[in-house]
Symmetry: C2
Subunit: 364 residues, 2 copies
DNA sequence: CGATAGACTGCAAACGATTGCAGAGACGTT
DNA sequence: AACGTCTCTGCAATCGTTTGCAGTCTATCG
């Protein structure tokens, strides 16, 4: 059907092997034939068959990216970033959706190695450690955003302790003393780390830790809703909520809307990870940006280096294990507001205190 | 490295060909050896090498989905749906991001055929008709959501005329007479068709068409912003805006927020295509749902049939060209509101008319 | 002028599967 | 007993590349 190397060789009256060498640039070929061959190849519209090549070389020029879903904006920008980077290097990205599900992850992984992918970047569920460990012998792997504690794979992490610390400190600086935290499951790296950052900021400010202000849960909007209700129903509800579980944000917004709580007048809201609509939301939602784009780039860098190392016969590229951190930063928008110390102490319904951030009046 | 067919054959003391036949189920093999071989293969952990197989059979078990981006929620659910369906059938999905860019689309397409994909579902930019036409000779292709007018490829479309009609009629039924329309570029199928649905609904209701109420533009938020400003600055501004260009929604929301326009009290807002946060937004945004999930499913169905047809030697599967339509439906939430006929005629600032949809009072 | 190195080139064997063709038994028929 | 038929199995070619090895040719040097 399509033009093969044989056709090119034949047209140029050379052997297939010469054609191969000339076009790939490997081995010794005279300048002249090389140019002649490339010209003829172009004229004929020759495109090397990656399958045939892959069979011989054991490489596929395919790199897989396995994420939980596409709803999460971080995953979106990571996917776009990874695809762009890889494409520039002549790799095709295989984007897979694992749904944060152990079985699905496992299945996908085997399919991927079947297809002889050259590299893998994944957000691990953390439940297939053994399998990952085994795969790492054959394929360069880099973990992204989460660590799989059962393995010692190289991992690119957001600096969650720092991010959570930054966010919490910001709220404290605005005068908040009772800060609710809605955070991810504590059996995940990010869940634990964000909690730790929160704790550190509180401790530094000399604010006593109050367990009732912390709600940890699954990565679904429902977590946000129940968590938010729980917090608001407290005898002394928080004056600010830090939603450090990205998926929970929607739930929190729903509950505050249901109860006609005006943000930021009656409650300050700070979220983790950006969403495109956050800055268009009213009020625009302040966030701690985990640096998704940087994370993706770093992951690609690391992976490439490992693939390189493997190519040069220096093991499978999966040694020299380390952990990389990408800095977080605070993006201030309009959902957090300074609170009067006296009021925050009472933690009751604040009087309508004017602020440059909002001129809307409180409802309820 | 991994277990090959030869290993299995050797372990079972049969030839490679017998092993192949036994495991694939093709050809004549005795029941006994077949069972024995499958057992041994499982014991050895044999997994067929898709690359080697692909080289021989010319198939890759790879199906590509090419979309513009991942930000659009419709594309997200489509991608998830397609991946799920294909996986169940033993195919791997290759998800590619084309950015609605002619060059990128072209590049991606060639890479994909290089990789000998078995099928392709794409949202065409409409600018690579010739290339697509050529590819269609080799690979079964189904277009999704948009048609490429330069080709006669089978296409699965949302029923945009119907959807726009439904949405517009809904607004009319609520008493709106001046309805602004922000719609996509008129050189795209969906742009034209949504406009036509809008026009039909107006005509049916005997409302004169007013060109100044229509703003067509590129698929970016900025279009929404400029369009919205233009509409609001009209001597007689509309009482409702129908944002039939999905990406423009954010821009519209920003402008209405900037101008402190309260939705739906001062302005009704109806959008096209859902976003996860629409129902959590305050007010929850009413939409015309284009049926993304159904679209994806239908596209997969069509593609599979074509791949089948091709497999059976009946041409390349790209004949019997047809166009499929997936119905749209209206999802009423809280962003549209009944308007008093008298007031709408004046089209001035309406008095605060109570409605069951909202008890909030108008500001400004 | 012959030997030898050096620079290219071609042959053929891989890679791991699938598949047409022919051979080997088993069995029934005449 | 001979023959045909039917069922199963193995041989070997093939898909389109890459690559070790050996061969050819030219040029250079002694």
């Amino acid at each position: 059907m399509s033009v093969t190397l044989k056709d090119v060789a034949h047209a140029a009256r050379v052997s297939v092997s010469t054609a191969s060498r000339a076009l790939t640039g490997t081995g010794l070929t005279s300048e002249r034939t090389q140019q002649r061959l490339t010209r003829i190849a172009r004229e004929l519209g020759y495109r090397p068959n990656p399958i045939a090549r892959g069979l011989k070389t054991g490489q596929s020029r395919l790199v897989a990216l396995l994420v939980h879903n596409l709803t999460n904006a971080s995953f979106q920008v990571m996917a776009e970033e990874v695809q762009a980077r890889l494409k520039a290097l002549g790799y095709q990205m295989l984007l897979c959706i694992g749904g944060d599900d152990q079985q699905q992850e496992s299945d996908t992984l085997t399919t991927l190695v079947d297809h002889r992918i050259d590299g893998l970047i994944l957000v691990p569920t953390g439940k297939n450690g053994a399998q990952l460990k085994a795969l790492a012998k054959d394929v360069p792997i880099v973990c992204l955003v989460r660590r799989d504690d059962a393995t010692d794979l190289e991992t690119v992490l957001a600096d969650d302790p720092q991010g959570a610390y930054l966010g919490t400190r910001h709220l404290i600086e605005l005068g908040h003393k009772r800060i609710g935290l809605i955070v991810g499951r504590q059996d995940t790296t990010s869940g634990r780390e964000r909690l730790s950052g929160y704790v550190r900021a509180l401790r530094e400010a000399g604010i006593a830790l109050d367990d009732t202000l912390i709600h940890a849960g699954h990565f679904v909007p429902e977590t946000g809703a129940t968590g938010c209700r729980k917090l608001l129903d407290l005898p002394r509800p928080p004056s600010a909520i830090f939603v450090a579980n990205h998926e929970a944000t929607l739930g929190v917004l729903r509950v505050t809307a249901e109860r006609n709580i005006v943000i930021p007048d009656n409650l300050s809201l700070l979220c983790y990870e950006d969403m495109p609509w956050f800055e268009w939301h009213r009020p625009a939602i302040s966030i701690v940006d985990n640096g998704a784009r940087d994370l993706a780039n770093l992951a690609v860098d690391r992976l490439l280096q490992r693939m390189d190392a493997k190519g040069n016969g220096k093991g499978n590229g999966n040694d020299g294990v380390r952990e990389y951190r990408v800095g977080a930063r605070l993006v201030q928008r309009d959902s957090c507001r300074r609170i009067d110390a006296a009021i925050s102490a009472r933690s009751g319904k604040p009087k309508s205190t004017p602020s440059k951030l909002s001129t809307k009046s409180a409802k309820v």
